[in-house]
């Protein structure tokens, strides 16, 4: 057992013990000289008084010196340490270092990850045995067995060198995997063993920790958790999601982005949301978000060039700046050219088959519409270059040219078919590529039209019609339609289970078939509010606009959807950002963002952590400078005793100083 000091610098203050002596000497008043007649009497009195007085003065002086020394020692924080646990050099320590994103939180003392590394260094300075350092955020993608084989015991000097090469991750950590490896490795060791977890105890990583998930029975290791940072939830705001809610990312068209900001704090927060497109700030808005709530900010977009755009939303900085950036790519495309082949053209446009469809694609002939439709008759098909169009729509055409359809589908262009009174089912059915069989024409009884009963809301364009938003669609009445059979996916279905809209993949393209007419001949759908979004949705679905305009982002650490090697276009190197892939189907970009869980800086309480470890005896400590010394040595702080002693000394001093009557002034 030895005495050491956590703040030994303060021991210089022991010189302050001389202060009471100096004060005693300096405050001694200069003696006057006085002739007096009764000095003999004074002498007698002096004999009676002096001894206790002198003793009292000496006692006071001693008490004050002791008080000063106690105060200095108190500031130097003395600790009783029990060094040299038997065979300390025979000990082994597995250090699990939390390098997940939440450790990037910057507090007054600095970044938490730097504090964690400092703690490791402090531990290593006093440790002589074998060491393993396991960063939590490195054990996610690779297989566990490979990880285990790569890990080997090191000396503390080697561990310190290894520590400097462990970066802070942008992702989440896997404490379970680390614990598994640590305990497995410790189990193989035949000496004193310790496991040290250095973490901020943020919920993101710790919620998933469970002993039951560990495949290794915990070895008889001493388990210590060194908490970096406070136990309270740290305030943090982050971008949860960016999505397009209106319009299309089409040149010349207006669209609207919705940014969801999440306040993961116990108190309301305000932040500035900035939108960057291709590195240029285009807009910014301020938002107040309630405690533990979410807020939404909307940005209007008007894009004028066909290309990929690297989008980024930034929040005004907080203490965890890494999650204040949200990356998303935008695919801006040209307007969709739609070729409509009208099987029943009329002199009056309004009576033409395509009248309502054209107005649905280009309402009010607006320039902002993402569609450029062109209507031709059947006769003109042969003279028209279908390659100039992205979608081909046949409306009420009596027959289809099989070869023409084949070439369209082969080129990957989707085809939409609307039936009607002009069509000849057999003409359709005999086309080899036609995936269905058109059967008889069904007519509803008068006063009892068929209505749409089922909407396949797994399709993006039908999702708005699945709930109350689909009332208009379900209100549409259908008098006539064709019964269709075959291998298909029914997107809209009547109450009698007959399909209204079916889809089928053909090669790398698809055909959508509307079994009723596209005008008012057989139904009143063109008069319903649902008609426009349905028609536009069908076209967008056909050309993959939903899928491509704002590709879904992934969270850092999750695998990319593409197999090819990515190229990072934006964001910190190797971290979140926008990644580019090239495949046979062309260029694809994907946004990668920090895991949302890592932004939640709520902490597990000590009790919750103990609960996670079940019966294991676990020591949980808060990291302060020098506290790491406790880990190897059984250290006991003695400042409480010293403080009690100091108070006692001051109490006695007060009693001695005031207890003796000082005479009347």
């Amino acid at each position: 057992m030895s005495l050491s000091f956590l703040n030994p610098f303060f021991l210089f203050g022991l010189a302050a013990a001389a202060i009471p002596i100096l004060i005693h000497r300096l405050t001694k008043r200069k003696a006057l000289t006085q002739k007096f007649s009764a000095v003999r009497l004074l002498l007698e009195s002096q004999r009676m008084v002096t001894r206790p007085q002198r003793l009292r003065h000496l006692l006071l002086l001693a008490l004050r010196i002791v008080a000063m020394i106690s105060l200095v020692l108190l500031m130097a924080r003395p600790v009783l340490t029990e060094p040299g646990l038997p065979g300390q050099e025979e000990r082994a320590m597995a250090i699990i270092l939390d390098n997940s994103l939440s450790m990037a939180y910057r507090e007054e003392r600095g970044e938490r990850y730097e504090l964690a590394k400092k703690a490791v260094k402090e531990v290593m300075d006093k440790f002589n045995g074998q060491v393993l350092i396991l960063p939590t955020a490195s054990f996610q993608d690779t297989s566990r067995s490979r990880q285990e084989s790569q890990i080997s015991w090191m000396t503390s000097e080697e561990a310190l060198r290894a520590l400097s090469s462990i970066p802070l991750s942008y992702g989440k950590g896997d404490l379970n995997a680390c614990l598994h490896i640590a305990l497995q490795k410790l189990k193989e060791i035949k000496m004193g063993k310790e496991a040290l977890i250095i973490s901020d105890l943020a919920r993101g990583d710790w919620e998933r920790v469970a002993l039951s998930k560990l495949e290794v029975v915990p070895a008889e290791a001493e388990m210590t958790v060194l908490r970096i940072g406070g136990s309270e939830r740290d305030p943090n705001l982050t971008v949860k999601e960016v999505k397009r809610v209106e319009g299309e990312t089409v040149v010349g068209a207006r669209s609207r982005l919705e940014v969801t900001v999440s306040n993961l704090s116990d108190r309301p927060g305000t932040t500035l949301v900035q939108l960057f497109l291709s590195g240029i700030k285009v807009d910014q808005k301020s938002i107040d978000v309630t405690a533990m709530g979410e807020g939404k900010v909307y940005f209007e977009l008007s894009l004028d060039k066909k290309d990929w755009v690297n989008g980024e939303v930034r929040l005004s900085g907080d203490n965890l700046s890494q999650d204040d950036h949200f990356y998303f790519p935008l695919k801006v495309r040209e307007k969709i050219k739609v070729l409509v082949i009208d099987g029943a053209p009329r002199a009056s446009l309004k009576e033409s088959e395509s009248y309502y469809l054209i107005h649905a694609l280009r309402p009010g002939d607006s320039e902002e519409s993402p569609f450029i439709p062109r209507v031709i008759s059947e006769e003109e098909v042969a003279k028209t270059d279908t390659n100039l169009y992205e979608v081909i729509v046949w409306m009420n055409a009596p027959r289809l040219q099989g070869s023409q359809l084949a070439s369209i589908l082969e080129s990957g262009k989707p085809v939409l078919l609307f039936l009607g009174d002009q069509i000849i089912p057999d003409e359709y059915n005999q086309i080899p590529l036609f995936p269905w069989r058109i059967r008889e024409r069904r007519e509803a009884r008068i006063g009892n039209p068929e209505r749409i009963a089922h909407v396949d809301d797994r399709m993006d364009f039908l999702e708005p019609f699945s709930g109350p938003g689909g009332e208009s669609l379900r209100a549409a009445s259908f008098q006539r339609y064709f019964k269709v059979e075959g291998s298909m996916r029914s997107l809209l279905t009547f109450g009698n289970q007959d399909p209204l809209l079916v889809e089928s993949e053909v090669g790398k393209s698809k055909i959508l078939l509307f079994t009723s007419s596209g005008d008012l001949d057989w139904n009143d759908l063109p008069l319903k509010a649902a008609y426009l979004p349905l028609i536009q949705g069908m076209i967008k679905e056909a050309v993959g606009l939903f899928r491509d305009s704002v590709p879904p982002t992934i969270r850092f650490g999750n695998p990319f959807g593409q197999k090819t090697r990515p190229i990072q276009l934006a964001g910190p190197e190797g971290g979140p950002g926008i990644y580019q892939f090239f495949s046979l189907s062309g260029e694809v970009r994907q946004g990668v963002n920090p895991p949302f869980e890592e932004s939640d800086l709520g902490k597990l309480t000590k009790e919750a952590v103990r609960k996670k470890f079940g019966n294991m005896d676990i020591k949980i400590m808060e990291y302060k400078e020098g506290v790491s010394g406790d880990l190897q040595t059984n250290r006991k702080e003695i400042w409480p005793f010293l403080l009690a002693f100091l108070l006692m000394v001051l109490g006695v001093e007060m009693v001695v100083a005031n207890g003796v009557p000082r005479g009347k002034e």
């Binding site: 003696a31 006057l32 000289t33 006085q34 007096f36 007649s37 009764a38 009497l41 004074l42 002498l43």
Partner: protein
């Protein structure tokens, strides 16, 4: 009160004037007619016989009765007083420019003046650690100046040995009488008391005038002080603040010791603070004188 105010008296350099001022002040209050005196008192008449001195014939009675009558007086006792004045160095202490010795010599002169006025015989002994001077008791009016001369010539010096002096006097005094001791009594009290007892046992009446300065009674010092004894080579560096309680206790114990011893041995004891008037001492004497008659 100006008669007795030490501050006023201290301005009078001549001791006789001081004494007369004090005594006159006291007598104004006590006797309206100073010419009467105290020496005899008429008792009655008896018939003349041949052995009688014709000077004592009452001629008024002869004119009335045509016979010779002699006036008879009751004879009064004349006091033989001896003033014992302490002239040791400690008597030289005084605050406000008025030493204990100034006070004591003025008192002694006043008493001598008063006594001689009353036709008592008065003597003076000055002493320190030895008897300095003796002026034998006489009742003549010119004797006062002999006493005053001694007092005026004297300065406080030498140590104190009041106890041994009193013992010595007890052995040497042939006739009993009245002894008036004027001293600060800063000697070993047991020695002083023993000497007083011996004098008392010889049939002497004793009046003790214990003269102390206000500083000695109240010890008003505050700052750390090096005290130098006025009689011996004693120095004491002390903090009056801390020593004061013990000192006051000691000085009051000393006073009480003297007061009790005097009371027990039928001696008159007066504590005289030099800052208060001298009349108190004289009145004290006069009261005693009244009893003595």
């Amino acid at each position: 009160m100006t008669y007795f105010d030490p501050k006023v008296l201290s301005q009078l350099k001549n001791l006789f004037l001081r004494a007369r001022r004090v005594v006159d002040g006291v007598m104004v209050g006590v006797h309206p007619s100073r010419s009467k005196g105290f020496t005899s008192e008429f008792e009655g008449h008896r018939e003349y016989s041949q052995s009688d001195d014709i000077r004592h014939i009452d001629w008024k009675a002869y004119g009335k009765f045509d016979r010779y009558f002699i006036k008879e007086y009751r004879e009064t006792t004349n006091v033989r007083a001896l003033l014992l004045l302490d002239t040791s160095s400690s008597m030289g202490y005084g605050s406000n420019g008025w030493t204990k010795f100034d006070y004591a010599s003025t008192l002694t002169a006043s008493l001598a003046y008063l006594m001689l006025k009353q036709q008592d015989s008065v003597g003076l002994i000055t002493f320190s650690n030895r008897i300095e001077k003796r002026v034998p008791p006489k009742a003549t009016s010119g004797h006062l100046f002999a006493i005053l001369k001694e007092l005026e010539d004297k300065k406080p010096e030498g140590g104190t040995s009041a106890g041994s002096i009193l013992e010595e006097l007890a052995g040497s005094l042939k006739r009993k009488g009245l002894l008036l001791l004027v001293s600060d009594l800063l000697d070993k009290p047991e020695d002083v008391i023993r000497g007083l007892k011996q004098l008392r046992s010889k049939g002497n009446d004793i009046l003790v005038f214990h003269v102390l300065d206000r500083d000695e009674l109240e010890f008003p010092f505050k700052d750390p002080t090096l005290f130098l004894d006025m009689e011996e080579e004693i120095k004491l560096l002390t903090d009056p603040y801390t020593i004061k309680p013990a000192y006051l206790k000691a000085i009051h114990a000393l006073i009480e010791n003297y007061r009790e011893a005097c009371a027990q041995n039928l001696m008159d004891y007066s504590l005289l603070d030099t800052s208060i008037g001298l009349d108190r001492a004289l009145v004290r004497y006069l009261k005693w004188r009244e009893k003595f008659r």
